[in-house]
């Protein structure tokens, strides 16, 4: 088996909550944004990381790249331990791992032209300058489906889809092996989503990229991921190869999530599982299994309230953190 390109073990990130006594007292609550997350991604593959707001998926993405400093855990990318790196080697490693953000309107500097945005990484890493850089910029723009004349545009002159393509070009400019895609199509219109997803798939094939695709839309993830990990309140509750997860989910949250996705087919009469209650706040996770207050599983019992289930293998390659994973909904 080829060694994983990205290997995350026990990643933890806690944020201190508000402090009592106007900032002088002890911190009131700790927000356990990422609570012992582990996964691995083989080279050339896509891992879809799914969950609703507050589950910690974006934090995972940023912590892996050390845009946020992890509190604990090991992150190995291409054989190198990212967490322990000093500033200099980290900057060099940044060429191998990049990120594309969700918000096409916020992820581009409003005061820079496309050309300047694409030239910057080339300058930082001394990849190219002058005419060589201009050639590379033109080639990058074409690769993401934009006419090279867009180089002189400012962000506000471009549409959402075009801005997202610029963001992708910027990430590709340093020739990374690994891309974290943080909800890259969530803010785009449906018809543009499909274009960008196709582009990402093409780029992956052409450049042999490895993706961590973070999203809340299970339908989108289905079309691009080889493996899927579902997060809830900072923990991974299920992880499986994509076909297995969509055909037979083992965790009640995954099942509920899948059933809640509206399907564009009026004839699809599904038994919709509608969860009661709100998505809980990561500052006050429930004791025991984090999902138990909303869990619709008929066999839910006292153990769920007191004992957090471990993420264990319930079928070949398929892991779930549920006491009743063998009897899925």
């Amino acid at each position: 088996m080829t060694p994983a390109l990205v290997d995350v073990q026990g990643l933890v990130k806690h944020f201190p909550g508000d402090r009592a006594l106007l900032g002088l007292g002890r911190p009131r609550a700790v927000v356990r944004a990422v609570d012992d997350v582990s996964f691995a991604i083989a080279p050339g593959e896509t891992l879809g990381l799914v969950g609703e707001s507050g589950c910690g998926k974006s934090t995972v993405g940023r912590a892996i790249l050390r845009l946020i400093e992890p509190d604990a855990g090991r992150v190995t990318i291409d054989g190198q331990d990212v967490v322990a790196l000093g500033a200099r080697p980290l900057r060099a490693l940044r060429r191998r791992m990049q990120i594309v953000f969700q918000d096409p309107y916020g992820s581009l500097n409003p005061r820079m032209t496309v050309r300047q945005m694409l030239a910057e990484p080339l300058a930082i890493h001394r990849i190219a300058s002058g005419a060589d850089a201009q050639r590379r910029i033109a080639a990058l723009l074409e690769e993401v489906g934009l006419d090279p004349s867009f180089a002189q545009s400012y962000a506000h002159e471009l549409s959402g889809g075009q801005r997202q393509r610029v963001g992708i070009a910027r990430a590709l400019s340093v020739e990374p092996h690994f891309l974290v895609l943080d909800e890259p199509v969530s803010a785009l219109d449906v018809s543009i989503q499909a274009q960008v997803l196709n582009l990402l798939a093409e780029l992956q094939r052409g450049r042999r990229l490895t993706y961590l695709f973070i999203a809340h839309d299970l339908a989108v993830v289905r079309h691009i991921a080889d493996h899927v990990a579902v997060m809830y309140l900072g923990k991974i509750v299920e992880r499986a190869p994509a076909p297995a997860l969509y055909a037979g989910p083992r965790h009640p949250y995954t099942t509920s999530l899948l059933s809640a996705v509206p399907v564009p087919d009026p004839k699809a009469q599904r038994q919709r599982i509608v969860l009661a209650g709100d998505v809980p706040s990561p500052a006050h996770p429930p004791p025991g299994c984090p999902f138990h207050p909303r869990c619709p599983h008929p066999k839910k019992d006292a153990r769920c309230r007191t004992e957090p289930p471990a993420l264990r293998e319930v079928a070949p390659g398929q892991l779930a953190a549920c006491h009743f994973a063998e009897q899925p909904l």
């Binding site: 609703e52 707001s53 549409s159 959402g160 889809g161 075009q162 219109d189 449906v190 018809s191 543009i192 989503q193 499909a194 274009q195 997803l197 196709n198 798939a201 809340h216 839309d217 299970l218 339908a219 989108v220 289905r222 079309h223 691009i224 991921a225 080889d226 994509a242 076909p243 969509y246 509920s256 999530l257 899948l258 059933s259 809640a260 996705v261 509206p262 399907v263 564009p264 087919d265 009026p266 004839k267 699809a268 919709r272 509608v274 969860l275 009661a276 709100d278 998505v279």
Partner: protein, 343 residues
């Protein structure tokens, strides 16, 4: 056929832009009807004019940059809303026609309790006393499924989650039992499990209160599950209108076809195995420069010369129902044999 509750005919709302880029014709001749008790879904992507349409109905368009063109007709129960005096219009807003918006946090006033905000509509329109209105507010909170309504009525918006705030907004909108609820992307900003809750709530309330709903969204899945009829908008116009089942079974306009084909679906084989997701090439044109002829022709796989030259009117697609049930704005209806994609 019964008298429609809301009839919009040839609505045109234009905006004057700052630069010399001319007028943005955001809504450019939109017509549809909403029958009492039914849910009409209005589907479209950004820039199609659906939000401006809904704001125009209640005349919430800011007048200096925007204006509703003369010749537009918006009739509610037979009365033309566009010619009403401000006082009469205010008696309708919040009372007979209510509206809920996409972002519950910015639509709720952060310095008032939710109870106050729900009660306000009752006080203004029905002249209830504060005490009676407060009881009404508690009833509404219970109706929209908020637990412990007697306590929650004194909470502020920031103390509530997104899903709960959206329920509060629904409560505010329904306190006067309006006949028509305009819901502008009510679930877009919510998590998918919360979205399911809210959609279920809207379904239940519609059945209980017998009101009509105008559901505006970009999500075809939402419309498939909740709407009786659907109008698809593109570039400021309605391009297809049909009962929901007919639209999904037999989408006739190339835009509708393309949209349905490009939505990633749980019930279709993954694109990963089969190559690419279908996508519509190009992008939505700017409202200041709609293309000549059919506005979709630059992106249409079937377009021919007539499409480039002449704007098609809404044509009847037949399909077994009464005339006008399924209408499509496309020349393909006159020349069906051209429905083969260009190589």
């Amino acid at each position: 056929m019964t008298e429609p509750l809301l009839r919009v005919r040839d609505l045109k709302t234009y905006f004057v832009t700052e630069q010399g880029s001319g007028t943005a014709r955001s809504v450019d001749g939109v017509s549809f009807e909403v029958q009492p008790g039914e849910t009409l879904g209005i589907v479209g992507e950004s820039g199609c004019g659906k939000t401006v349409t809904s704001l125009s109905i209640l005349r919430l368009i800011p007048e200096p940059p925007g204006h509703i063109r003369p010749g537009s007709v918006i009739e509610f129960e037979g009365r033309n809303l566009l010619t009403l005096e401000p006082r009469e219009l205010r008696a309708i807003r919040g009372n007979q026609i209510a509206m809920i918006f996409q972002e519950p946090m910015t639509s709720l006033n952060p310095v008032f309790t939710v109870g106050d905000q729900i009660a306000e509509a009752a006080i203004v329109h029905q002249g209830l006393s504060r005490r009676v209105a407060r009881t009404r507010a508690i009833d509404m909170l219970r109706l929209v499924g908020i637990a412990d309504p007697e306590e929650r009525v004194d909470h502020y918006p920031h103390q509530m989650s997104g899903g709960m705030r959206q329920r509060v907004m629904i409560g505010m909108a329904l306190v006067c039992h309006p006949k028509l609820l305009i819901a502008d992307e009510p679930t877009t900003a919510l998590d998918v499990t919360i979205q399911a809750q809210i959609l279920e709530l809207l379904d239940r309330l519609q059945a209980e209160l017998g009101m009509a709903v105008m559901l505006i969204t970009h999500d075809l899945g939402v419309v498939a599950g909740s709407a009786d009829r659907v109008a698809v908008m593109y570039a400021g116009q309605v391009v297809e209108q049909a009962p929901t089942a007919a639209l999904f079974a037999r989408p006739l306009h190339p835009y509708t076809e393309g949209l349905l084909a490009s939505v990633p679906r749980l019930d279709a084989p993954p694109a990963r195995e089969h190559g690419r997701l279908h996508s519509i090439p190009g992008q939505v044109p700017a409202a200041t420069a709609w293309p000549e002829g059919c506005r979709f022709h630059p992106r249409c796989p079937y377009a021919w010369e007539r499409c480039r030259a002449e704007m098609p009117p809404l044509l009847d697609a037949g399909g077994g129902g009464e005339p006008g049930t399924h209408t499509v704005r496309c020349w393909l209806l006159t020349e069906p044999r051209r429905r083969t994609p260009h190589p």
